[in-house]
Amino acid sequence: MKILVAVKQVAALDEDFEIRADGKDVDPDFLVRDLNEWDDFSLEEAMKIKEASATPVEVVAVCVGPEDADEALRKCLAKGADRAIRVWDETVVGSDAIAIARLIAAVARREQPQLLFAGAQSADHAFAATGMAVAAFLDWPHAAVITQLTYTPGEEGATLRRELEGGVLHEMQIETPAVLTIQLGINTPRYASLRSIKQAAAKPIEVLTPQELGVPESAVGEAGSASRVRRMYVPEKGRAQMIEGSIEEQAARLAQLIRERTGGAA
């Protein structure tokens, strides 16, 4: 039985970043890349199923990204994934969540997993769409924001809980194969020691192009996306009205604000 885990190498902004010349993205020099925090949880969930299973389970990590995304895949291999696949060529540049999902769906058709995990959202752009878009391309059952999953390899279907606003949980039953997006806190991700990451460097990462997956150029990049970036800019920083003075003076002003706003409830 196979679980395909889609991961993303997200980018965080360094201090004093700059927008690049064409105004559509941040200058890559100021981007710090790391594996998406949600993906730690999806991978861990896959590993839990694998380790608890009486029958063999193969965990395959897939990432759409350029060469530096290998680092994210190595972390997955270090944590116990059996194989890793990276999808990339220059035509992928400019893809949004939908175009990326198309590529991941193509990998899924190739790999035929029983479960496909993605993170509920990514730490950088938080579109929260890729997972469900993959499900639509595959026409598979799908559910998002999963905080608990019960699945036994070999059995049909899975029981899950999704976390709703207000902390309410909705327990549901889903048919398999299925696409699930995983929420933070579903488990405790294991630590990948530097040594295990270094050793994982020995495991090969299969690199595929969209063409090799049967996805034409018209279906990736900006052409294959459901949106296009017109402009990226730094918003005017609103500035809070700073309350100055000594600690006592600041607290007094705060207390005054509180009494004003809450109608002297306290």
């Binding site: 360094d14 201090e15 004093d16 710090v32 790391d34 405790t188 294991r190 630590y191 990948a192 020691s193 530097l194 040594r195 295990s196 990451i197 270094k198």
Partner: protein
């Protein structure tokens, strides 16, 4: 007239040959049992991992002999015990040599070469010396009994913080029984030796060459007088002699036979441990060999034969237990009990003829003889245990090796996990962007040279806390100003500096340590400098002692020696004497680790501070509690902390004005502890650099420029 030359003791006098044979059978059996015990022990050690011994064995041997003869390590922090042990040691050694001399004369030189020397003047002096030795031995033993039975120091009650009542190995009565048995057995052997001496004199009173020379055995002679006064006849003496002879002899032989099976083995294991000691055991941790499959110590057989030998050297003296800051605040760690647990585990598994299955050799856990995670994570790697151990047991590397396995499995506090991941990502434990590392320099009125771009004489390795923590940034700015004013040509690495890795290594994340060390060495290779100075004792330790193993060899000093030089050379002119009453907290990694006790004190003297030492100072300085990665782990709710404990010690100094530190983590920990322990307003915590700055300027300085 007595023929002095005829003075001697006839061995086996009046013994029927059968009796002598019986004696020798017993003796050889005892020796055989002894050697069997040695064989079992050596087999146990050989079941451990391989280890190289650096340096010449001869030099090590003589160094060990000197240490043992001087009893320097045993006298530390317990002078009466040191004195008493000296008596026991010398007494025992002399008596043993005495018996060996007799054996040499009687069993070897006599039969083989017909040479006898044990008679005459030699014999008489021999008798006197051994009588005195016996008194020393007995005296020492009696003191030890008094110490254990009446003084009852807490470290000898063997109460262990890592087990609860009800746990199988919680009860330590067996150890106490063994201790008393040892003392009593030796004492009885000594006393019966004197009694035997005395009854022989009574028995042979008619023989002038025995009776007339009796006062060369003063104790025996005095006892003999007493016995005769009590009416003992020569015949009775003879009868007593026979009985006591066998009793004393067989007891002594049993004692010898049991040496390898009892606490008495410390005679050999302690000597061995001392001989094989690594003086940089805690300062320079061992690398993980490339080919090694598993990292760290999981099974008892993962420890080296040296470590297994050291486990047997422990005599439960409790000095490490007393010194440990974690134990002092109630954490479930006592270095002594880690060693004893592992020893019990080793004895249970490795003494067996057939080595048990590997699964049974796992030392991690809460079973008997195992070491729990909580115990290992409590350690501050301050090396107080290693430093004080009289028999050179190296607790810290053992704990770190056990931690390495925990790290591989990810079994650690979640906050620690996150910090390690943060350090991997950003190169610092604050999670700040690399670019911000030198942000503290922006507030300075002068530019700090970039050592990557231009050569400098002194490269200042700043460290995480000194770069990113606001309070410590002020100190960094202060030192930068001092160096600038003194005209020192210095620079920093800016973004190319990463966490030096000292604490990462001591947490057990060796892979991450290698990444950090390699990165820093590469950065240093791009710079051109004569020497390195650092404000961070942790960085100082690892760059000085551990980076050479990774190809980075540098001349490095802590800022205190550099500052002292600048003051002495007049490059920094002291404008005023501060006249404050201060105490100095020796940072673990500067003081105990690297013997840097004197420069800070000299500086305090030069700037006119009155230094009152705390009880636990210099090599016995009490850790602030931040080491070993503990600063990245939350403390249990409501528990005491090492830093608070230290504050209480400082608060006992009447009229104390300043608690002086020279380490960024100390500054952070003690400023917090000052408030939390209720001492705010009574005295302040200051970094040495801040005091020096005060002494240099004409006016009283407010804290240095605002952090960037």
């Amino acid at each position: 007239m007595t023929n002095v030359n005829a003075a001697t003791r006839v061995l086996f006098e009046d013994f029927p040959p059968a009796a002598i044979v019986v004696f020798y059978v017993i003796a050889y059996t005892a020796i055989a049992v002894f050697f069997y015990g040695v064989y079992v022990a050596v087999r146990k050690y050989r079941r451990g991992a391989a280890a190289a011994v650096a340096g010449s064995l001869r030099a090590r041997f003589w160094a060990m002999v000197e240490t043992v003869l001087s009893h320097r390590t045993i006298a530390r922090r317990d002078r009466p015990a040191g004195a008493a042990h000296r008596l026991i040691f010398y007494g025992f050694v002399l008596l043993f040599l005495g018996t060996s001399t007799i054996t040499l004369d009687y069993d070897i030189l006599g039969p083989l070469f017909h040479v006898h020397f044990w008679h005459g003047a030699f014999y008489l002096w021999f008798s006197l010396v051994l009588d005195v030795a016996g008194v020393a031995l007995a005296g020492g033993l009696l003191y030890m009994m008094y110490r254990r039975g009446w003084l009852k120091p807490p470290k000898l009650d063997y109460a262990r913080p890592d087990r609860k009542p009800g746990d199988v190995d919680y009860d330590r009565s067996e150890y106490r029984r063994e201790d008393w048995a040892f003392l009593w057995t030796l004492l009885v052997i000594a006393v019966t030796g004197y009694l035997l001496e005395a009854v022989r004199l009574v028995w042979l009173e008619a023989r002038p060459d025995v009776w007339d020379t009796r006062w060369w055995s003063p104790v025996g002679a005095a006892l003999a007088q007493g016995m005769r006064a009590a009416g003992m006849s020569a015949a009775a003496g003879g009868a007593w002699r026979l009985g006591l002879w066998w009793f004393h002899g067989v007891l002594a032989l049993i004692f010898i036979a049991l040496i390898p099976f009892t606490k008495v083995k410390h005679i050999f294991t302690a000597a061995g441990s001392l001989m094989l000691r690594d003086p940089l055991a805690a300062q320079r941790l061992p690398r993980v060999p490339e080919q090694q499959q598993r990292v760290g110590a999981q099974y008892i057989t993962d420890f080296t034969w040296k470590q297994l030998l050291a486990l047997d050297a422990c005599t439960k003296c409790g000095r490490c237990h007393e010194a440990c800051p974690a134990r002092a605040v109630g954490a479930p760690l006592s270095p002594r009990d880690v060693i004893l647990s592992l020893r019990e585990f080793a004895n249970r598994t490795l003494d067996a003829g057939v080595l048990p299955e590997q699964a049974e050799l796992d030392v991690h856990g809460k079973g008997p003889g195992q070491v729990a995670m909580e115990t290992l994570w409590s350690c501050r790697t301050c090396m107080a245990c290693v430093e004080v151990c009289p028999v050179a047991i190296e607790h810290v590397p053992i704990i770190v090796q056990l931690r390495r396995k925990l790290v591989e499995e990810g079994e650690m506090d979640p906050q620690l996990k996150k910090t390690l991941q943060t350090i991997h990502k950003t190169g610092n434990s604050f999670g700040e962007s690399k670019r911000k590392r030198a942000a503290w320099t922006k507030a300075l009125p002068f530019a700090v040279k970039d050592a990557r771009k231009e050569p400098v004489e002194v490269l200042w390795f700043v460290g995480d806390y000194a770069s990113f923590d606001p309070r410590n940034q002020k100190v960094s700015q202060g030192l930068a100003t001092l160096l600038h004013d003194a005209g020192v040509d210095f620079g920093i690495l800016y973004e190319a500096e990463s966490n030096a890795g000292n604490d990462v290594r001591r947490v057990g994340e060796e892979g991450l340590y290698e990444v950090l060390a390699t990165a820093n060495i590469e950065s240093l290779a791009t710079a051109s400098f004569k020497s390195i100075v650092t404000t961070d004792p942790h960085s100082y330790n690892t760059i000085r002692n551990e980076y050479p193993d990774f190809g980075g060899r540098y001349a490095i000093e802590h800022y205190t020696t550099l500052l002292l030089r600048l003051l002495k050379e007049g490059r920094l002119k002291i404008a005023r004497q501060l006249g404050r009453r201060v105490t100095f907290h020796d940072p673990c990694h500067l003081g105990r680790f690297n013997k840097g006790y004197d420069a800070p004190r000299e500086i305090l003297r030069l700037i006119g501070c009155e230094l009152i030492e705390m009880g636990r100072c210099r090599s016995n300085s009490f850790c602030c509690g931040a080491g070993g990665g503990r600063i990245w782990m939350p403390d249990p709710q409501g528990a005491d902390r090492p830093a608070h404990n230290r504050m209480r010690e400082a608060a006992a100094i009447s009229g104390l004005q300043v608690f002086v530190v020279s380490c960024p983590k100390d500054l952070t920990m003690f400023e917090d502890a000052l408030k939390a322990s209720g001492n705010e307003g009574r005295f302040v915590v200051r970094e040495l650099i801040e005091l020096v700055r005060e002494a240099l300027s004409e006016r009283q300085l407010a804290p240095s420029p605002v952090a960037a």
